[in-house]
């Protein structure tokens, strides 16, 4: 994979969870019920997507063609 392509994938795949955290898409999570694992839905939603983001970044790091920025294309 080229570096340009990786940067594109990086930005797009992390934009998704970010957009789910702000309006208009946050409307989906912006409610008090149902409770999940003892947390109101809005609180659960934010924590859940932060965890997913963590997993996405781990995955992206594995994909990264140039982890040391040596300029390998």
């Amino acid at each position: 994979m080229s570096k340009q392509r990786f940067i594109k994938i990086y930005c797009l795949s992390l934009a998704i969870p970010f957009l789910l955290m702000v309006f208009p898409l946050f409307t989906l999570g912006n409610r008090e019920t149902p409770f999940i694992m003892g947390l109101p839905f809005s609180v659960f939603w934010v924590i859940f997507w932060i965890l997913i983001t963590f997993v996405i970044v781990l995955f992206l790091y594995r994909l990264d063609p140039d982890k040391d920025e040596k300029g390998v294309q």
Binding site: Y10, C11, G38, S42, V46, T53, E69
Partner: protein, 489 residues
């Protein structure tokens, strides 16, 4: 022994350890080296880096302000963990790039980065001054937090001026002697302490007041419907305000010189791994929000002076907790404030020296520069202390204005990294306009259009002007423009 005595002994023990670690970290390093003082020679490891960046998030604001937000505003407090998790992510891409430019051209500040790309002394001087003023504001907030926590945990026996002097004095000493490495290692100790304390004390408070976390939330949604929603009936913040607050915090985060310049302090791989583990820091803040939520049905807001006092108020007044818990919370809050203050003091001195002083007097040797930076640490520390203890309304407005304008660096920084078309006059005009617009809507106008965050309004004007004016001012050859854009891509 009385509770306050136990608390005081623990807090002082903490301060002694923090001082020792800070001073020892700088031991055996080259004291005469400018590079060591500014960037720790670019070789900080992952573990240290993680806490250095994490310490910046765990500030007095997260220890006192986050529970305060949760207590007084409810769901909008979620913005804090949201932006903490996301704001670091662009660093994965831009950090290594900035670091590589810095190593090649011997840059260690935001001011230096902008000066070279736009060949502009004026811009560097502006950044030096804004960074200085904004940092003093930031420091004053941290210092207030430290002094306040000292005073309340010892039941008023340590006065405000002494608490601030003790805790911040220690920061100044280890930063001036050991530079970045000292700040970094003391952040490791402070970071671990804060995480342990926020979880144990946070969950203890929730359990004492409500028996469990689900019970707490059940009570809360029954008695205050809408409190855990944004923009609903009964909520305290509109959807637009919430969204733009997250945006401005996320964009502004990496523009803070003390975070931006960490790109120079380590290798590309370490930057990436720091980003990798960073969202976990956002989760460390959760118990602090829970503390705020737990107090909603229990404490009448009129009982406390400001929402920020909720955590210490619960510990000292409402709950029956042993004295060592006082001490732990005191130490945790001090650690939070100090680990932010050290990085800010360090970078404020660097930015002002590199951006301003070096452009006034241009032929400084690196030995003199280092000396000025060391003295700068004391001067900035002193200024921030005087402002914290004595205040002064006009000055505070000025500092707040500077604080809000850090995010306005963003168009210039991203323009430098990804476009060769952006020019010096465009960035300067954009920066000034963005700062003025932000200042007006933050401190003068009572409301903002559509409830948009003032920083975002400034940023919109800023970006617009940068694009338009760059279009008109092409022609002057900028030798570095192409190089900046090409590095690492």
């Amino acid at each position: 022994m009385a509770q306050w005595q136990i608390a005081m002994i623990m807090m002082i023990a903490y301060l002694v350890i923090a001082l020792l670690i800070g001073v020892l970290a700088g031991r055996n390093q080259d004291k005469q080296s400018l590079e060591e003082f500014t960037t720790a020679k670019g070789n900080l490891g992952l573990f240290v880096m993680w806490f250095l960046m994490g310490g910046a998030v765990f500030s007095a604001f997260s220890f006192l302000g986050a529970p305060g937000w949760a207590f007084s505003r409810g769901a909008p407090a979620l913005y804090i963990i949201t932006y903490t998790a996301f704001a670091i992510l662009p660093w994965y891409i831009i950090g290594p790039k900035i670091g590589r430019i810095g190593r090649k051209h011997n840059i260690y500040t935001v001011a230096g980065f902008m000066q070279l790309r736009y060949s502009s002394r004026v811009l560097a001087m502006m950044i030096g001054i804004i960074a200085l003023l904004a940092s003093i504001q930031y420091l004053a907030t941290q210092m207030k937090g430290m002094a306040y926590i000292f005073s309340i945990m010892t039941e008023g026996r340590i006065p405000f001026w002494l608490g601030a002097l003790l805790s911040y004095g220690i920061v100044v000493v280890y930063v001036a002697t050991g530079g970045l490495r000292a700040a970094a290692w003391s952040d490791v100790f402070q970071g671990i302490l804060m995480i342990i304390i926020s979880w144990t004390v946070g969950l203890t408070i929730v359990n004492q007041l409500h028996s469990s976390v689900p019970d707490m939330f059940r009570n809360l949604t029954e008695t205050a419907p809408g409190f855990l929603q944004i923009g609903a009936e009964g909520s305290t913040m509109s959807a637009m305000a919430y969204t733009t607050t997250i945006l401005v915090s996320t964009i502004g985060f990496l523009m803070w010189p003390h975070l931006f310049s960490k790109s120079y302090a380590t290798k590309a791989r370490t930057i990436k791994k720091t980003v990798l583990v960073y969202p976990v820091f956002a989760l460390f803040l959760i118990p602090l929000l829970f503390v705020g939520f737990s107090a909603v049905n229990v404490i009448d807001p009129s009982q406390i002076g400001s929402p920020d006092e909720i955590l210490p108020y619960l510990i000292t007044t409402v709950l029956t907790l042993p004295g060592w818990v006082y001490g732990l919370v005191g130490a945790g809050a001090l650690a939070a404030a100090m680990s932010t203050a050290d990085a800010i003091t360090h970078s404020a001195s660097l930015e002002f020296t590199d951006g301003f002083v070096k452009n006034i007097k241009r032929d400084l040797s690196s030995k003199t520069t280092l000396l000025i930076m060391r003295i700068g640490v004391f001067v900035i520390g002193g200024l921030a202390y005087v402002i914290t203890v004595f205040g002064g309304q006009g000055l505070i407005a000025l500092l707040l204005g500077a604080y809000g304008s850090i995010v306005q660096f963003a168009p210039g920084v991203y323009g430098a990294l990804y476009s060769k078309k952006v020019t010096e006059p465009a960035v300067i005009t954009g920066l000034i306009t963005g700062t003025v617009v932000n200042y007006y809507f933050q401190l003068v106008a009572p409301t903002t259009p559509l409830d948009i965050n003032p920083g975002i309004l400034g940023l919109i004007c800023n970006i617009g002007l940068v694009v338009i004016i760059s279009g008109f001012t092409q022609g002057k050859e900028l030798p570095m423009a192409e190089e900046y854009r090409k590095v690492g891509s």
